[in-house]
């Protein structure tokens, strides 16, 4: 289309530039916002920009990152899992009970990881049957926490096992174990999503299930796998969170699913499936926790922090859906996204 480019006037070009900026802002807005917030907080609080504070935020973020990676793959298939917070509670309670019964830490950890996978599989079985993921996992959110309360009788149990606590407080090659685990999970999740058949099929299932089926993809198996995966990762997140706090409590992980979903949606993973980004989810998780940390340092009433978290989720969904679509549409009309392939229809 060289002739049409040559014919474009200055006004068109300005429009094009604006469209490019808009596309860039929507795509990398989260990173910009995170950067701006960190600059602002550095100016506002002398305690913000310190190694200790950053390590603290990273350690708080670790369980969210671990589970958000699993949620990213679930959302790639156009699904959602609301039960991860309750699963954290169940893992927390059962791990503490197991350790109290003098089971070795490795056995307890293996057992709760298996439990998480099985819980995820159960969710997956119902989703595969065609039930809405939202309702299936809302039910799991309720009954899993119920089981956690029944199993613990409502009491928190302290944990003394050093082997177990290492997962929340230990260090390996000079790095805090939760941070290391989160980094490994994020890396593996990135490779799975972007470089393997499994990730591609998850995106295909979420993008257009009928097309995936027509191409011979076992849609049901992919769905089972992503829910099992997020269950496994929720159990790992539960281990890290429980070990960090040092006790097993049926109240662990309350509203944790909201943090995870906010991080994922904020990162740019589509709520409707077909598009997902692990890097975005990590950045989203960091964003939420840096905002909370900043508000705490500023001495903002903690009740307000919850309000802010809710508003961030709402904004994230707004950008994820309406704004994203409008900007992409507008940019295509303005020609910022090259109409690919040359115009065969005009040929």
């Amino acid at each position: 289309m060289p002739s049409s480019v040559a014919l474009k006037g200055a006004a068109d070009r300005r429009q094009l530039d604006r469209a490019r900026v808009a596309v860039f802002a929507v795509r990398y807005g989260l990173f910009l916002a995170l950067g701006l917030w960190m600059v602002a907080m550095t100016l506002a609080s002398e305690h913000f920009l310190s190694w200790l504070n950053f390590l603290n935020v990273f350690r708080q973020t670790a369980p969210v990152v671990v589970v958000a990676v699993g949620m990213t793959l679930v959302m790639a298939t156009a699904g959602i899992d609301l039960s991860v917070g309750s699963l954290v509670a169940l893992v927390s309670v059962l791990a503490a009970a197991g350790l109290r019964a003098d089971l070795p830490a490795w056995a307890v950890i293996a057992a709760v990881l298996v439990l998480g996978t099985v819980v995820g599989l159960i969710n997956g079985v119902f989703v595969r049957l065609g039930l809405p993921a939202f309702v299936v996992t809302l039910a799991a959110l309720t009954y899993l926490r119920g089981i956690a309360f029944v199993a613990s009788d409502g009491y928190a149990v302290p944990i003394a096992s050093d082997g177990f606590l290492w997962f929340g407080r230990g260090e390996l090659i000079g790095i805090h174990v939760p941070i290391l685990l989160a980094a490994v999970v994020a890396l593996v999740g990135y490779l799975l999503l972007n470089k393997t058949r499994f990730g591609l099929y998850a995106l295909a299932v979420g993008g257009r299930e009928e097309a995936a089926r027509a191409m011979g993809i076992d849609v049901g198996r992919i769905k089972l796998a992503v829910y099992a995966g997020v269950g496994l990762l929720a159990a790992l997140g539960g281990i890290i969170a429980t070990a960090r706090l040092g006790n097993g409590s049926p109240n662990a992980g309350i509203m944790f699913e909201l943090d995870v979903i906010t991080a994922t949606v904020l990162g740019g993973t589509s709520l409707f499936g077909g598009y997902a980004t692990v890097g975005g989810s990590v950045a989203g998780a960091l964003f939420i926790n840096f905002v909370r940390n900043g508000l705490n340092l500023l001495g903002v009433n903690p009740f307000w922090v919850q309000v802010v978290t809710g508003v961030i989720l709402l904004l994230a969904v707004l950008i994820n859906t309406v704004v994203n679509r409008r900007v992409a549409e507008w940019a295509r009309l303005a020609g910022a996204e090259p109409e690919p392939g040359g115009a065969e229809d005009q040929a």
Binding site: K195, L200, A214, M215, I217, G274, Y275, P340, D345
Partner: protein, 258 residues
């Protein structure tokens, strides 16, 4: 080698009380273009679903190159060299052109015992594929949702013949396209024939069939009404068969004898 690429014999399919196919026979020669026409609910799509492995026939048999074949899934059909271009293209809008073409048949490589997608190899193969087909290649890494209807059609066709297809079934290939894109599709069908690929075109548009096909098969109420070499018929006669549901030249052979 059998002179026939595909021979469907006495295919029966019922959906509850509806008898969608009542002992249908259909032959396709190597490199032959067959136009399949008929009213809505004539059974065209159901017959093609049976041939592409999407749904199983209740009775009848399918011979491919003379040998009985079991087509229990789209994968079976594809392994036998039968590909389907769906009316809605069956593309995943968010995935790239390359990802769509290789969906379900990815090229992988091993690294440290794990299997990873070989994205560069697939991108190269996709570009080459478009060149070979004489189709204008869309940038193969762009998401399909940004392509026009005609370009999406080109991607769907490219996918169908990327893996040594012997027969491509096109379900209403021109239904959702503009005039220039329709011309493009007709050219592509001709090019497939030149490459020795047989094509079955299902179409409401008689014009599509009469300009591209070697032979036209008319169906009504789950039966084959009649078949004609395109050179030996005219639009009026085919139209009569579609509407009246009988063959004015009866008794004529119900299909080209093998």
């Amino acid at each position: 080698m059998s002179p026939l690429l595909v021979s469907m014999r006495g295919i029966v399919k019922t959906f509850g009380a509806v008898r969608a196919l009542r002992r249908v026979d259909l032959d396709v020669g190597h490199g032959e273009i067959v136009g399949l026409v008929g009213d809505n609910a004539a059974g065209k799509s159901t017959l093609m679903k049976v041939l592409s492995g999407v749904c199983a026939a209740d009775a009848g048999e399918i011979l491919i190159a003379g040998a009985p074949a079991r087509l229990a899934s789209p994968m079976d059909a594809r392994a036998a060299g039968i590909e389907m271009v769906y009316q809605d293209f069956a593309l995943v809008p968010e995935l790239s052109v390359t990802q769509n073409i290789f969906l379900g048949r990815e090229v992988t490589r091993e690294l440290l015992g794990f299997r990873f997608l070989n994205q560069p190899a697939m991108a190269r193969a996709a570009s080459e594929l478009f060149a070979r087909l004489g189709l204008r290649a869309p940038a193969v890494d762009t998401p399909v949702r940004t392509l026009s209807g005609g370009q999406q059609q080109a991607v769907a066709i490219a996918r169908a013949i990327a893996f040594d297809a012997r027969l491509v079934i096109m379900d209403e290939p021109t239904a959702s396209l503009g005039a220039t894109a329709i011309t493009k599709v007709r050219e592509t069908i001709g090019r497939l024939k030149a490459h020795g690929v047989a094509v079955i075109v299902i179409s409401h548009r008689l014009e599509d069939v009469l300009t591209t096909a070697d032979r036209v098969v008319v169906m009504k109420h789950g039966r084959v009404v009649g078949t004609r070499a395109v050179a030996d018929t005219a639009a009026e006669e085919v139209l009569h068969m579609i509407i009246a549901g009988n063959d004015p030249r009866r008794p004529a052979p119900p299909h080209v004898s093998a």
